[in-house]
Symmetry: C2
Subunit: 755 residues, 2 copies
């Protein structure tokens, strides 16, 4: 396996290559596209959560000024492979905002005005807008072939669970809700499409995390070769999981542009984003833990009910949660049930963590419940249950194979940097002063670095500058910088002249996008294969130029040198010049580039421990986050500053779930939180200055030893804050309360406690 | 070496993939670009052919409405590496139209109006506007370090030339002029440029034949890495050699856009195109031939004087002519001198053939002069001198190594298809009727398929469609079609889903553009390497899927089958799905693509014989082309229809030189032929229906056996028509007349003959 060279850039705090264009407003987002003859699209959406469509009258809308055309499902199906286009409802809608028709006009304004003039006749159907409603006896069904609205139902048992519960001196039990969230990317979704006269196909610009996946989906609907469909993810203003996969609008615009032979553009409004961009979380879990008096867990029972929304695109969510159920802990017996329930709401799928934050939240709450029940310190309950370092690689009772871990080390560091003992002392003193301070711990492990593979194409140009093409599709993660750091050190290239390209299927090899914290672990793994291959050729050319043996060449301080004679050396530029210009060994093909596909043997498992310190104000129910400490172990860190950035963003979203954010529907499936006035994303001022730290436990899974950091902090922070708030509420006898801890909810719980 | 599979597409008459977008006007040329905030550029050009600049006053122009700015050399030099920007004159101009300053404005109209308001003070210098003037005693010098205005002077001698001339019974001698031409592409040159905020560099769109060459040149001037400079050759409306290399405008726009941080565009007008786009030909040759009475040539003497124009960018031209001096003939002794003379005219460089048409023209005129002197039939003089087929590969007395040739075979076929004997009879009869019919032969050989290398990146996409990226940059040659034919047959791919990309340095590997008839011979050679590499992997995957041995797999009728069990087979789509999806051998990397660089061992040498039949009308001097027969041998023909297209276009240009076209300057270096009213490009109606035919002599130089056809017909046709016209003038005792045979010139010659 390729070995990582660490010289000037790898591991250094390097400024992001991405920032100058972003900061100066010179980056190109989908909405910045201005193509000659471009038309604008607005989508007519269902105003009901569940209804039959009995008629669509487009005549009035079609006659409005600036309107190019109004299209229903029947119109657009003509532009697709038979039966393949299903992005507009025909006879029935199952969630609020489901696309029904499309207006194309000369301006976005004209399109939206005409959209409101399309008359759709609905016959409302009874609605199930929650898991409880959908699972109720005699509940209306969304699909004929899904009795009980159950889309997923997977059980798993390992070990003697029943026996453990029988003999355990300590048993705790809790229903825990992981509320529905929205990803709220700064840029909502956006799609533009134009015919491509060169390929006879289509180009689609989409604010997406996985352009190659969209290519395959769209090519299938259009009946085109992948070589005829080009997907470009230009600058993407945040993804967080909700921009994975082709949405109805991607298909609609691709079909439209071919039918009308004009470029088209659709930009999602913020309210559409809340309504029709995938939601996240939306689970209810019933958990039960059997433990010894010393806190050692003997068995774990869990039933996860995932609200899938109106279709099962997020079918994997509940099984992901149950597969990560045991967290960092050496639990010998488990019984899980993963259920997916269909409801008349927006479908739920990936959102930063996608099933893993829920798992961590449940087990970390469980640990604190055991601590409560045993009177032990939550840190000790964690410590006594951790999988010990010498057991790795280890396969858990849920069947996951953890690569490497030093959980106690991360806990210890977190306790140390937070001054945990002093915090507890401070807490005790505060209580004596009538202040309700809480300290929350969370030790998490998560699964990331998913395959099936990732690709890399690296080209050393004839003057030694380097172009990198990757199959991942970063949209904020910063791999233009990270990858350049790796290339600079590992090929002896000029960092400023390493350019990383991504997000365009026309110049990147087949890839699997950026999601699941796979960018560096898998994309970087592919990069290392290419770097290694090029380095091997560069060594041969260097040896040829220096008239030395290949074995005597080494890359030191950015130059390819003869061992023992460091004055004799050549630069990458000189090697590249030879590679393209002539002076290479007789039997060598010119050029200096490589394309590689890295297929990781397994996933990686980052981990860490977070400590949250909160104060609850009982008169108002308000929660204040006083301090936050994170110790995250994502393996080898190429760019510590970018890791910190990911941690900061992750904390903001994880804490946001704990304290403020929630997507809510009423019982008719109408959205109650459709604007940023209702959906409470945190502001920077809500947070203390985060104290972030790290341990480094490399993974053996990829050549970088890097695990992934995109989701870790989100996963760790929700339970840490939840545990802290509940810890603060301990004097009121409260052992659990569901997130988000809005002032109203906390106030009510305190009132109800009667204390 | 890879072996070419010929199945459904290779060798078939396939419709061009390029045509639908071109015919329907949906192709994108540089002028079609509309970038937000784009400004327009006009160039202030010298109105003198030779002058000192004593002052430039831009104030009036800068104050005009819509003008963004006016820039001189000093302004733009600030945006370049010190000393590297030389595209605007500072203190002296040496040719008419030399760029002096730049106007940038909101519209092209405003830019051109303001251009005319820039006041440049000139102090005129004496002009040398022709080879004769430049070589005259005491002629003014263009450069201090070029005494006598001589830029090139190379001599070569091989064999006993003096002895041969002493003993030869037949000696002929002639000064021959190959007049100056313009390439006259349908689309004049065009450049647009914009900053690239992602690379920190620049994107330049240019109507060019060699984007990678421009990239290197521009990166050098800007001090950027090649990875930061992207050159796109979008649709290019013809090149013909004159669009090779970066022009002043490429550098000017690249520097400008970085300085002013706005996209800029410059479109050459037709009159600018005549004035400042490289000219071609412009040679005078003095030749002398020593021969036996049977026509066998004993020695050849040649002095070529190349008019280089105001700089030596075409320094290679005269040496190319002398290196190809002997044509198809086994000439034992040679003495050549290749001279390049600087004049105050537009520099001369590549134009369809670039030095080879001149060589063929001279030797083919020489052969006819020997025929005249010996009374032999011109066909017989050719035949007696041909290098025989069994001598190949052969190194000529000029040092060129010809790969393969069957010259007599092509001659015989040409005589046969033209009915040469009957033509001679018809000629004799016509003369008796007082009609002046002429028959001209030309047997040419040319050198093409130049290295140093060409690149290919082929990607089989996961559904089996194929994306091809090539380092060549076709601009009419049709390799989107030819390459797709090769890929379809050789990988079993769907022809409609093979897409060939070119002309964008951001997605193609380093390449050397399209010129010198190298597209198929070298670019196709690289393609074959990639195809072979992919086929090898595809065979392995097929064997794995079919549970057979790799040696038992064959590609038959578009499917990978088990030999002897043709029902057991898999498609490329199935193989691709496995390659990206999983079912591949354990130790195999995923993916199905290859990048290759083909470095040909040598050039290739297409050849052929053309027969022209003309009639001259002595009263007016008018020449009418009655019939035209071509037999061209370009080796293996992948796409016979595209070969024919190249032959037709080549004939039009070669015949154009013989009969109509000429760029003329007056003695002050003012252009007399600056519009399409003065410069007589032929119309389709000027030509008879060409009768084209072929022989096929494969080359061993590349895996396709293809030689190149882009320039062949141009090279063969000028001497064929010239010989025909002079043959028609034989009754007037005229043995030579310089092309073009304008009516005026022919009429005057007839008059002067006194017959």
């Amino acid at each position: 396996m390729a070995s990582l060279v660490i010289s000037e850039y790898v591991g250094a705090r390097v400024r992001r290559k991405e920032d100058p264009r972003l900061i100066t407003g010179r980056a190109t987002y989908v909405d910045d596209l201005r193509l000659p003859g471009m038309l604008h699209v607005a989508i007519v959406r269902s105003v009901y959560a569940h209804a039959r469509i009995t008629g669509i009258d487009t005549s009035q809308a079609a006659a409005m000024p600036g309107v190019f055309g109004v299209y229903t499902a029947a119109d657009l199906q003509k532009g697709a492979v038979e039966g393949a286009f299903t992005s507009l409802a025909t006879d029935r809608v199952r969630y609020l905002g489901e696309p029904v028709a499309v207006v194309v006009a000369e301006s976005a304004y004209a399109a939206r005005d005409a959209r409101d003039a399309v008359v759709v006749d609905y016959e409302p159907l009874p609605v199930v807008a929650s898991i409880e409603a959908a699972m109720a006896e005699g509940a209306p069904q969304l699909y004929d072939d899904k009795p009980g609205n159950i889309a997923v139902d997977v059980t798993h048992t390992q070990g003697d669970v029943a026996g453990a519960f029988e003999r355990a001196p300590v048993v705790v039990k809790q229903r825990i809700v992981s509320q529905r969230l929205s990803g709220v990317p700064m840029e909502p979704r956006a799609v533009a499409a134009a015919p491509d006269p060169t390929t006879g196909g289509v180009t689609v610009w989409s604010s997406t995390q996985a352009p190659h996946w969209n290519r395959k989906a769209i090519a299938g609907v259009l009946g085109l070769g992948l070589s005829q469909v080009r997907i470009i993810a230009p600058e993407v203003g945040g993804g967080f999981g909700v921009k994975i996969g082709a949405y109805p609008e991607d298909f609609i615009l691709a079909v439209l542009t071919r039918l009308i032979n004009r470029p088209v553009k659709w930009i999602e409004t913020r309210s559409e984003n809340f309504q029709v961009t995938n939601h996240g979380r939306a689970q209810i879990a019933d958990i039960e833990v059997a433990a010894e008096k010393n806190g050692k867990i003997l068995a774990y029972r869990m039933t996860v009910m995932q609200d899938q929304g109106a279709d099962a695109r997020g079918a994997y969510l509940a099984p992901t949660t149950t597969s990560m159920a045991v967290g960092c802990y050496d639990i010998p017996a488990i019984e899980t049930r993963a259920m997916g329930i269909l409801t008349n709401t927006m479908p739920v799928s990936a959102y930063r963590g996608a099933g893993r934050p829920e798992a961590a939240y449940y087990i970390e709450r469980a640990i604190d419940l055991v601590a409560d029940a045993t009177g032990l310190d939550p840190a000790e309950v964690r410590r006594v249950n951790f999988i010990p370092p010498d057991k790795f690689p280890v396969t858990t009772v849920t069947g996951e194979r953890y690569d490497s871990g030093e959980y106690a080390k991360a806990l210890d560091k977190a306790l140390e940097v937070s001054g945990y003992q002093q915090l507890r002392q401070m807490q005790a003193e505060a209580r004596q002063q009538g202040r309700y301070v809480g300290i929350g711990l969370a030790s998490y492990v998560e699964i990331c670095g998913f395959g099936p593979f990732e690709s890399s194409h690296v080209r050393v140009e004839p003057t030694g500058s380097v172009s990198v093409y990757t199959g991942i599709s970063p949209h904020g993660q910063g791999q233009e910088t990270t990858f350049a750091q790796i290339v600079a050190d590992n090929l002896g290239a000029d960092f400023d002249q390493v350019v990383v390209h991504h997000g365009d299927t026309s110049n990147t090899p087949e890839g699997n996008g950026t999601m699941g914290s796979r960018g560096l672990a898998v994309g970087g793994g592919a990069l290392m294969l290419s770097v290694e291959q090029i380095r091997e050729k560069a060594f041969k050319i260097a040896a040829h130029l220096l008239e030395a043996s290949v074995d005597d060449i080494e890359l030191v301080d950015g130059k390819y040198r003869v061992k023992g004679a460091p004055d004799r050396g050549v630069t990458l530029a000189e090697i590249a010049e030879a590679a393209y210009g002539g002076k290479i060994p007789e039997d060598m093909e010119p050029g200096l580039e490589a394309t590689n596909f890295f297929k990781p043997a397994d996933e990686t498992f980052p981990f860490g421990t977070h400590v949250a310190v909160v104060e609850v104000f009982p008169d108002t129910g308000e929660v204040k986050l006083l301090d936050y400490y994170s110790v995250d172990d994502c393996g080898v860190r190429i760019s510590p500053m970018l890791v910190e950035g990911q941690v900061h963003g992750g904390l903001a979203q994880g804490i946001g779930q704990a304290l403020w954010e929630e997507i809510r529907y009423d019982e008719n499936g109408q959205l109650l939180t459709g604007t940023l006035m209702d959906y409470a994303v945190p502001k920077a001022s809500y947070f203390p200055v985060f104290k972030t730290d790290a341990t480094v436990t490399p993974t053996p899974i990829n050549p970088l030893g890097a695990k992934g950091i995109g989701e870790a902090a989100t996963i760790g922070s929700t339970p840490a804050v939840a545990n802290a708030v509940i810890d603060a509420l301990e004097p009121f006898g409260i052992t659990h309360l569901d997130i988000p801890f809005t002032a109203e909810k906390v106030w009510a719980a305190i009132r109800q406690s009667g204390k």
